[in-house]
């Protein structure tokens, strides 16, 4: 979701992702077509504010640790319509990606500072501090950690006064499909919290669709 610019800065550092043998659990609640809704807290020192957010998974390639989708912000004050962005995600599977971001102006310290906001990360922290978690086997872990980076605005121009410069640290619960995230952008308010729940879209249960590209 796009956010407004705020004051702050952080140095950048490069680090790499690596090779390992594990992959995250294939979770049906994180498959293409699944929808989530909730809020992103965009409060600043001046005022408390939260935007309603809808997310839809549009693509998923677990082998390459890739996920993508759209994010719709509903009550953005300066926009006439809901603002839709397209994002791409890196799944922390310790094979394609580790907990260390290595780009987007995020240092390992920034990474740890954000990941530790998720209670489910505490069991992994000591390993992650050593090497980004390369040695961890997350294939049976009930949580999937990801980074979501917005790539472009789908329905408004880049001159809309909003920025998508940052990215989200995301933790997905395989058990109930809930998503928690923290937006990170050195130039925006820190720790803007994203909270989403799996939606049934008016149904008495869960529904699953699929497509296939050839």
């Amino acid at each position: 979701m796009p956010v407004r610019v705020a004051e702050s800065s952080a140095p950048s550092q490069l680090s790499g992702s690596n090779c390992g043998q594990t992959s995250p659990p294939a979770c049906s609640l994180l498959s293409v077509g699944q929808a989530f809704s909730g809020t992103q807290n965009v409060s600043s020192l001046q005022k408390d504010e939260a935007w309603r957010v809808n997310v839809r998974i549009q693509g998923c390639d677990l082998e390459h640790g890739y996920l993508c989708g759209t994010m719709e912000a509903l009550n953005v004050p300066m926009a006439d319509t809901p603002v839709v962005t397209f994002w791409e995600g890196e799944i922390v599977d310790t094979k394609n990606y580790t907990f260390f971001t290595g780009k987007w102006e995020a240092t390992p310290e920034d990474d740890i500072r954000h990941w530790t906001k998720f209670p489910s990360f505490s069991a992994l922290q000591s390993h992650v501090e050593v090497d980004g978690g390369k040695s961890l086997d997350l294939s049976n872990y009930q949580y999937i950690f990801m980074r979501w980076k917005e790539q472009y605005f789908v329905n408004v121009g880049t001159d809309c006064g909003l920025t998508i410069a940052g990215f989200y640290y995301v933790c997905f619960s395989c058990s109930d499909g809930s998503i928690n995230g923290f937006y990170y952008d050195p130039n925006s308010s820190p720790f803007q919290k994203l909270e989403l729940k799996s939606t049934n879209e008016g149904r008495q249960g869960f529904s699953f669709s699929s497509y296939e590209l050839r």
């Binding site: 058990s175 249960g205 699953f208 669709s209 590209l213």
Partner: protein, 533 residues
């Protein structure tokens, strides 16, 4: 010369006298005669048995010796070696091991020959070796050299330039590492520059389009570069080319580029420039063009910007529905697959449009198509139909629920996991609807008369295929959804049918996803108390 004609009779190498004749030609001192021998190999060697017979007769050794001969002998030898080694591990191994690797070094050396045709044939020979036995020619240096050489040979104005894109395609096809090297060698830009030239002969045009297709088949970086060059305009123009080979190649190129979810989400393909000419190709007299056009439409149907009405406006849905009833099973399969993608997250108007065009009875009959892979796509289409807006579930209840009956018949009678998974998701999605929908699914799952027949869902819950177990458990989760008034009575019936105890036994399922869904189901069961008492 006679063997340069495709109409020339084939020589049966499996007959001893023919093989003796061929060897006598290859052993000749006269280069025209050895050239004739090589032409016969090129023209007639088609099967693995023939390749093996040639190897056993010592043809590979003879061809290697001709590499030292005159220009025409060298070229003939390179071409014949490629023919004998193609997909023939034994021949490749004999060649590579021959003279302590000198034969291979000699071919590598010929990639630097002064004659473009020799360079092309030497590189084609190396590509055959690499494609047949992936363990050879893994060195990054030789791979990079081949990429650069073949791109350079595209500049040749004659036959070499016409054949170079095909050789380039076979080098990079299905190999992301080579596609990356090609990308770094600026291949997209170079091919695009060739594409811009007017008066391209159909063969060269086709080759360049296929090379671009292979380049864009896996790597997003290639697709992005392709799109940034506006190459899409040139390729969409090629959809109306006189040559059916060029039209097919243009479709294949578009198909590979349209695998980009990032660009599908941006709506970069579903537009007036691409969709109408593609829909017109659905009427093409050539089946290969038709199938290639459907494949592109299938990909670009997964457009997330909700501009799918364009499909309907230019008659795309009507055509695809017609083609899904074709006598040709490949056409049926592709048409259903495209409609399945078009149905993915479609709004209710679009879904109803497709449904009305299809009709319930036709849908029921494609579910029971004689071909299993067609059945699977038909069920995947129904699965998407009953997803999303709850109103769409009603569609499968028209005409006395004949679609649901067809789904049940497939779940009972089909024999592949893929069909069962799609069918089970149809029932699971319907079971996420209203009370009426849930009861209808119960009716399909649990036979009315207690004639001792076991419900198919028990078999699926015990399957070795975790995705099938997942789909089956989701159906149970939906049937016992806590806020639904009829859930308790359904739970009692599921218990009587032995399904509840089966679910309980899966609490430590080896698949994490199944285990979590089982726990969701068990959590729901406990909200009703223990129904077994």
């Amino acid at each position: 010369m006679i063997y340069q004609s495709k109409l020339a009779p084939k020589c049966d190498f499996l007959q001893e006298k023919n093989m003796e004749f061929l060897l006598s030609l290859l052993n000749s001192e006269n280069e025209n005669v050895t050239g004739l021998g090589a032409s016969i190999i090129l023209h007639s060697c088609e099967s693995t048995a023939e390749q093996k017979a040639l190897c056993h007769a010592g043809v590979v050794k003879k061809l290697i010796s001709l590499l030292e001969g005159s220009l025409s002998q060298r070229d003939n030898s390179l071409e014949s070696l490629a023919t004998v080694m193609k997909n023939n591990v034994e021949a490749v191994s004999e060649f590579v091991g021959s003279e302590s690797g000198r034969a291979l070094s000699s071919v590598i050396g010929l990639t630097k020959d002064r004659y473009p045709r020799t360079r092309l044939l030497a590189s084609m020979c190396l590509i055959v070796i690499r494609n047949t036995s992936a363990c050879y020619l893994q060195d990054i240096g030789i791979k990079t050299k081949l990429v650069h050489l073949l791109l350079e040979l595209h500049d040749d104005p004659g036959q070499v330039g016409d054949e170079a894109p095909f050789a380039f395609s076979s080098l990079i096809s299905e190999k992301p590492d080579l596609q990356k090297l090609a990308f770094e060698a600026n291949a997209i830009d170079k091919l695009y520059n060739h594409l811009q030239k007017s008066q391209l002969c159909p063969k060269r045009f086709q080759g360049i389009l296929l090379a671009l297709a292979d380049l864009c088949s896996k790597l997003e970086s290639c697709r992005s570069r392709f799109l940034s060059l506006q190459a899409l305009n040139l390729v969409s123009d090629a959809l109306t080319h006189d040559s059916s080979d060029v039209r097919t190649a243009a479709c294949m190129c578009l198909r590979c580029v349209s695998r980009s979810i990032k660009n599908l989400c941006a709506g970069n393909f579903l537009n007036e420039m691409i969709v109408p000419p593609l829909v017109r190709l659905l009427d093409d007299p050539s089946t290969s063009v038709q199938v290639a056009a459907i494949s592109v439409l299938g990909n670009i149907a997964v457009d997330f910007t909700m501009r799918r009405s364009l499909f309907v406006q230019c008659g795309g849905v009507k055509q695809l529905v017609q083609l899904s009833k074709s006598m040709d099973s490949t056409v049926r399969l592709n048409a259903l697959w495209a409609l399945r993608n078009l149905m993915f997250l479609a709004d209710n108007v679009c879904k109803e449009g497709i449904f009305m065009e299809f009709t319930a009875s036709s849908l029921a009959s494609v579910i029971c198509d004689p071909e299993p892979f067609v059945q699977e796509q038909a069920l995947a289409l129904i699965r998407n139909l009953v997803d999303g807006c709850i109103k769409s579930v009603e569609l499968v209840f028209t005409e006395d629920g004949m679609i649901l009956d067809a789904v049940r018949r497939q779940l009972q009678n089909a024999s592949t996991d893929e069909i069962w998974i799609q069918g089970m998701y149809v029932l699971s999605n319907v079971a996420s609807g209203t009370e009426f929908h849930k009861e209808a699914v119960m009716h399909q799952l649990i036979p009315q008369e207690d004639n001792g027949t076991q419900s198919f869902i028990l078999k699926f819950l015990q399957s070795h295929e975790s995705q099938l177990r997942t789909a089956a458990v989701w159906a149970i989760v939906n049937l016992t959804f806590p806020s639904s008034p009829g859930s308790f009575s359904r739970l009692v019936k599921l218990h009587s049918a032995g399904i509840v105890s089966q679910i309980k036994s899966m609490v430590n399922d080896p698949c994490p996803d199944v285990k979590l869904r089982v726990r969701t189901a068990l959590g729901q069961f406990t909200t009703f108390g223990d129904c077994s008492t």
